[in-house]
């Protein structure tokens, strides 16, 4: 029952996130509002990590598994993908390298300046 009770806490936050998105029209996806809500609850101590420890381990340990159906959906887009394979690969390669360079240099620069 412990796992399900913890799951209940997480689901309540999910629903609050959806309500804020759909009813109050907060312009972020419901699940991401939920993530921010849970983060605030953890920082303020309203929810303790202990109260959701097992369910968070279960979800995080199997995280990649939950994306399989989304990935398999690619089958329906095989045509689009084949036609744009080169641009997609180039964009993935180049932007990943650029982000790594800019982020690393920015952090090192700001840290270095502070140290002086």
């Amino acid at each position: 029952m412990k796992l399900l009770r913890q799951f209940l806490i997480v689901l309540i936050i999910c629903v609050i996130g959806e309500v804020l998105n759909k009813v109050v029209h907060v312009p972020l996806p419901g699940s991401i509002i939920g993530m921010i809500l849970l983060f605030v609850c953890l920082i303020t101590g309203v929810i303790k990590v202990k109260m959701i420890e097992e369910i968070s381990c279960f979800l995080l340990d199997h995280l990649a598994f939950f994306f399989i159906p989304s990935g398999v959906g690619l089958l329906a887009y095989a045509g689009i993908l084949k036609k744009n394979l080169v641009p997609i690969m180039v964009i993935c390669f180049v932007s990943t390298i650029l982000v790594m360079i800019v982020t690393g240099l920015t952090v090192q620069l700001i840290k270095g300046r502070k140290a002086k």
């Binding site: 997609i88 800019v102 982020t103």
Partner: protein, 231 residues
């Protein structure tokens, strides 16, 4: 036989089996290129093609698995909370780096996408490619992208980042452990973080912190830009 192949239980079974095989191959070869998620997706697609199972039939069980995406996104607050103490010391440098990285990601993808003449749908699918998958799927949905394409782009990005990170950081002369970790986590999410953990404890923790931060910052910046009408 056809009826059995069309049941949600069969979809669940092949997904779990494919994932087990993916993890096994990844562990045996220890190669980032053999990513368990990518292998699992390819195996399931292969099974659907060979047994001529319509995607709609697989989706019945697949939707059951996808149901966990929302709680899995919400729960990302837990690792972010656990890592947040490492933010204390260099928070200006870390947050500055993450924001610069996220802006670089969105701008470079947008510019290259426009240059290649990609459709708005495809461009929106690629924008979230540097962030962690659950956040990426949500952002892709919100921007009007194709979440399946986003998942593929995220996995490719993670593999590229994990493979290139050590050499690239060395060439750039980035020696600071915090800078290394944040750079890897911001550019290559959880997949890159597996590499950062190998580099050292600080690099791993920083990379883990960057996953959550970069995800949130990207979602917020992309949401603002889409409201302005950039995509």
């Amino acid at each position: 036989m056809k009826e059995i192949l069309a049941t949600p239980v069969f979809a669940l079974l092949i997904s779990l089996l494919a994932f087990e095989i993916g993890i096994f191959v990844n562990k045996k070869t220890r190669l980032a290129v053999f990513n368990p998620l990518m292998l699992a997706i390819l195996i399931v697609i292969g099974i659907l093609i060979v047994f001529k199972i319509p995607l709609e039939d697989y989706k019945k069980g697949g939707d059951f698995i996808s149901l966990f995406l929302t709680p899995a996104t919400v729960i990302l607050a837990v690792p972010l909370y656990k890592n947040i103490h490492s933010l204390k010391k260099d928070y200006v440098a870390i947050i500055g780096g993450v924001i610069m990285g996220c802006i670089t990601a969105i701008l470079s993808i947008w510019l290259m996408g426009k240059a290649f003449g990609l459709s708005p749908e495809l461009l929106a699918s690629l924008i979230p490619k540097s962030i962690t998958t659950p956040l990426g799927i949500e952002l892709s949905n919100q921007l009007g992208g194709i979440p399946s394409v986003t998942v593929a782009a995220i996995v490719i990005t993670g593999i590229v980042g994990a493979v290139l990170a050590p050499a690239l950081l060395k060439v750039l002369g980035i020696k600071d452990k915090t800078a290394k970790g944040i750079a890897i986590g911001t550019s290559a999410h959880a997949l890159g973080t597996t590499k950062a953990v190998e580099l050292g404890e600080t690099e791993g923790a920083m990379s883990g912190l960057a996953i959550g931060l970069a995800g949130l910052v990207t979602v917020i910046i992309a949401t603002i830009l889409s409201r302005v009408g950039l995509f």
